[in-house]
Symmetry: C2
Subunit: 200 residues, 2 copies
């Protein structure tokens, strides 16, 4: 059976980088944005729209122009959100069938629970997460500390709501992970090879 590593992560904890580095070191396939692209292709929705859905809490309101026409008793946004989740579910199962892999986010730990993935949760203190966000990209450069902290908390709140909606589990509850890794003041580049030993 293929070896599957799923990574849940707090925003700014370096979980995505850890996943990517682990996959490179272990020569496992790596899936993250690829899943969004594939959903977009299969549902004929734009990648940006799919991204928005999978990064936000479910069933929230979007501009009417994005949705299809309203029919009595049917919420088109709800339908699209469900369709995206169903497609995501299918794609993740397919990918897990193909080869050893690392999958970041997307409720993959829950979706693949019958295949017993190794479930990692990556977290860090707020100061480290803010620092990592500032290093990562220009989008965060113009934010004040307070704004950045609010953004981090908001992203995590949405992740938690999304995860809880589709899994019925509390996002970040340690009992739903095999290993929880604290990346506070830690270089992901340095810890990835150490962690990779667990599979070598």
């Amino acid at each position: 059976m293929n070896r599957i590593i799923t990574i849940g992560r707090e925003f700014g904890s370096g979980g995505r980088e850890l996943g990517r580095r682990l996959s490179e070191l272990l020569q496992f396939a790596y899936y993250d944005q690829e899943i969004v692209s594939e959903i977009a292709k299969r549902t004929s929705m734009s990648e940006a729209y799919v991204q928005q859905i999978v990064e936000h809490k479910p069933l929230m309101s979007f501009p009417i122009s994005i949705g299809r026409s309203f029919y009595a008793g049917v919420n088109p946004i709800e339908q699209q959100t469900q369709a995206i989740y169903v497609e995501q579910h299918r794609i993740i199962k397919e990918l897990a069938e193909k080869s050893d892999c690392v999958i970041v986010g997307r409720c993959a730990d829950y979706i693949l629970r019958d295949r017993h993935p190794f479930r990692i949760f990556v977290y860090a203190d707020m100061a480290s997460r803010m620092e990592r966000c500032r290093e990562k990209g220009p989008a965060e450069e113009s934010l004040t500390d307070r704004e950045l902290k609010q953004k981090i908390q908001s992203v995590d709140r949405n992740r938690a709501k999304y995860y809880e909606f589709y899994t019925g589990q509390k996002w970040g509850d340690r009992l739903d992970y095999d290993l929880c890794i604290n990346t506070t003041k830690t270089s992901i580049k340095e810890i990835a090879p150490v962690l990779a030993k667990l599979w070598s």
Copy 2:
């Protein structure tokens, strides 16, 4: 600098066994009951009494770090509890100076924080912990499931109170550990060599 691994653990999670096995595999010194024996020796209290103190919630009304005025009729139990903690603190610092080591419990993660130990927290779901308790010893054999569960919860409550009293930190808070390991349905004997790779 010596490599130090500290292990906090839920009762029945196999944290002690994991610590012992890691120390054997890594050829690190292992300290657990040895600390209690040493405290007993140095304070001239019985080992059983020291054990009782360090496994129960503290009897003092204020954290040890807070200055207290002297007054007539100081509670002798409080004095002894404090003496035991002070001695434990001293012994743990001495042991960490001596060699690479694994220390189970005893607030060692906090006491040695200036030496940056690798801090592990071991946990598991209740069913696994109950099963492990039943396998471990005859003391739990006669208990009903309900009684055993209550015992586990009670031991953990006391550990939490003891830890919080002396460290000011919430016991089991993931931010105070580098790695949290879920031992639900896991054989400690099997995972110890895998984890030991992290230090090899």
